[in-house]
Each structure stands twice: as C-alpha cells, then as structure tokens.
C-alpha cells in the first residue's frame, strides 16, 4: 500500500514553524511582559498603551508578536486535536478550522492595532 505523501507535505513545515515561532515568542513575550508589567505601574494605563501603539517600532513588534502567538497557539491546538481519533477521522476539517482561527485572531488583532 503506497503512502500518500502529497497531503502531508505541510506537516513538516507546520512543525518547523511551531519550533521557530516558539523560539521567537520566548523573546517577544519576555519583552512584552517586561515593558507592560516590570517597569512601572504607569505602563499599563490607557495613555501609555496608546503611546506605544502609535510608535512604529512597537507597532511592528506587536504585529510580529500577534502573528507568531496566534500561529503557535492555534497550531498547538491543531496538534492536540490531531492526537485524538476524532482528529484522525476529520483531519481536513481540523486543519482548516484551526488555521481559520489563527487567521481570525491575527486579523482581529491587526485591526485593533490599526484603528486604535
């Protein structure tokens, strides 16, 4: 029985991106948390948040953080569901739904970044 490899060509890519996004998040989340919770009590208030969101550097960092965290979280969820027989039977739907959730989370966060 020949194995169908065509459909599985994205799995190694998803695995690699999970590792890479994990490493990147280790840095970005540390920075994010440091800036918002470890410097001063003012950093968490509305004006300080808006000031950061209007700076190009922070905007880029937040966009990157959002992208990688949304991918890592929903790809992780995908891996967990695929660990079940339900996931095995409905692989296409699980892949599509979790990646859709990733896109929704990313787009929604980007929307907030842009309009605020």
């Amino acid at each position: 029985m020949e194995e169908k490899s065509a459909k599985n060509v994205l799995e190694p890519v998803a695995w690699l991106l999970q590792m890479i996004s994990g490493a990147i998040l280790a840095v970005l989340i540390t920075v994010h948390f440091y800036v918002t919770h470890m410097v001063s009590h003012e950093a968490i208030h509305y004006n300080a948040v808006i000031e950061r969101l209007h700076s190009t550097g922070y905007k880029a960092m937040y966009a990157a953080l959002l992208f990688f965290v949304a991918f890592h979280a929903f790809n992780g969820l995908r891996a967990i569901i695929l660990d079940t027989n339900f996931g095995a039977r409905n692989r296409g739907a699980v892949n599509a739904l979790t990646m859709l959730l990733f896109v929704v989370a990313f787009v929604y966060g980007l929307y907030l970044l842009v309009i605020v």
Partner: protein
C-alpha cells in the same frame, strides 16, 4: 505468600481477581502467573515464550508500569500485592492477552528490511560495514517488539498511531550504512499518525526493557523525514 491481583477480561466484562502465590527466592512474575495457571485457575490467559527477555511476549503492566514478566523478580517489586494488568493502549482479547496484529502491521509499514536495488542472488556481493557504522544503529536493532513503549505513549492513548517501536525500526534501517531505502520509509514517517504525534514525553525510553531509547530514535527520524519532506516542496 504474595497477593497477585489480576485484571481479568472474559470478552464481555472486566473484573479483578486475587490469587495467593507462595513466594520463593528468585521467583519472577511469570513464574507466579504459571503457578496460578497450573494450580489455582487454568483459565488465566497470558502470553510468554522464551522466559529470558528476548522474545517480548510477556510484556504486561506490573504495579503500574509495563515490564517483561519473565525478568521481573517479585521480591524486587518490594510489595506484598502485585497488581497485574494488560498493556494500555492495546485492545484486550482475554485477561492479559492483547491484540498485537495492528502493532506488527505498523512495523511492516516502515519496511523493516534492507532496501537496495543491486541485490543479486546469482552473484552475491558481501556488504562491508565497519564497527563504527554498526554502532550508529546497533542499539535500535535490539527491539523485542514487546509493546511496552506503545503502551505508555500519551498520543497512543487517544489515537491509533505509528508508535515509537515502528519509528525506531525505520530509523534503525535508515541509519544502516547498507540500506538505500530511506526515501521509501520517509513517506510513512511523514504521515499523519507518524512522527508528528510525538511530543517528547519520552515515557517510551523510560519503560523499554532493552534500554533502546526509542524517544531518541523518533526525534532523529523526525528531523530526517522533515528535511526530506521540506526539500520535496522546493522541488515542486
């Protein structure tokens, strides 16, 4: 005397049954089971063969961990109560006997034999291998196919997966310098139930009776397969 508390299954219902077994110095769990079968209850079903930890038939869950019954000394368990159950993640047929057809079929899927296109039976040529080349895969040849690794794999608890033993077998052949069949095995490893279901819980390595470290083989095999899989994308 030691209490053997055994999880029985008669095809329709599961129940626990206890037996008192006289303990002799050096007695193994398998000897205890044979004592029960010969003296107390001949309907007790369990697999065994070599009695010396080379065939893998007698793997079962003893006091919560999968072990080979033939090499587990009762005294070493340091308990008056020995709890015995069939391996987890396998379908139970009767008592301590589980279905193994599926497990062996997974081995078949990874093509666990040397693959070369220059094998000639009319004019055979010796395949030379240095001791260093042998060392690269030797440990992984020791697998008994006992199923202990599969029984503790978290992913195997919720889904039928290729499993640590089969992936280790694939790695064993891919690392064999005489083999030319890595490409043929990579598809199996890349499949949905293959290497991606491993998250390095590494419980498999903890329970392997031959200390093969299947967890290591799975990580190494996954990287090999991922590299080949990603290279294939760029050739499209």
């Amino acid at each position: 005397m030691v209490e053997f508390r055994i999880k029985r299954f008669d095809g329709s219902r599961s129940y626990w049954q206890s037996f008192e077994v006289p303990l002799k110095k050096g007695m193994t769990v398998l000897e205890g089971l044979l004592y029960i079968k010969e003296n107390l209850d001949s309907t007790l079903a369990f697999r065994y063969s070599c009695r010396m930890a080379v065939c893998g038939s007698c793997a079962m869950k003893i006091n919560g961990r999968p072990r080979l019954a033939c090499e587990t000394q009762i005294a070493a368990l340091k308990s008056d109560k020995i709890t015995i159950e069939p391996l987890d993640n396998f379908i139970v047929i009767k008592d301590l006997v589980t279905e193994f057809e599926g497990f062996f079929k997974k081995h078949e899927r990874v093509k666990p034999y040397l693959i070369r296109d220059d094998i000639s039976y009319e004019s055979p040529v010796e395949l030379i291998q240095t001791p260093e080349e042998l060392k690269a895969y030797y440990d992984f040849t020791l697998c008994l196919k006992c199923g202990a690794c599969y029984s503790v794999c978290p992913a195997a608890a919720t889904r039928d997966i290729l499993g640590p033993a089969a992936i280790t077998a694939a790695y064993r052949f891919c690392m064999d310098s005489r083999d030319r069949g890595e490409d043929k095995r990579v598809d199996v490893i890349l499949s949905d139930d293959g290497a991606w279901r491993c998250h390095f819980a590494a419980e498999c390595s903890e329970v392997c009776p031959k200390n093969i470290n299947p967890a290591k083989a799975v990580q190494k095999m996954r990287v090999k397969a991922a590299i080949k899989g990603i290279k294939r994308i760029f050739r499209w």
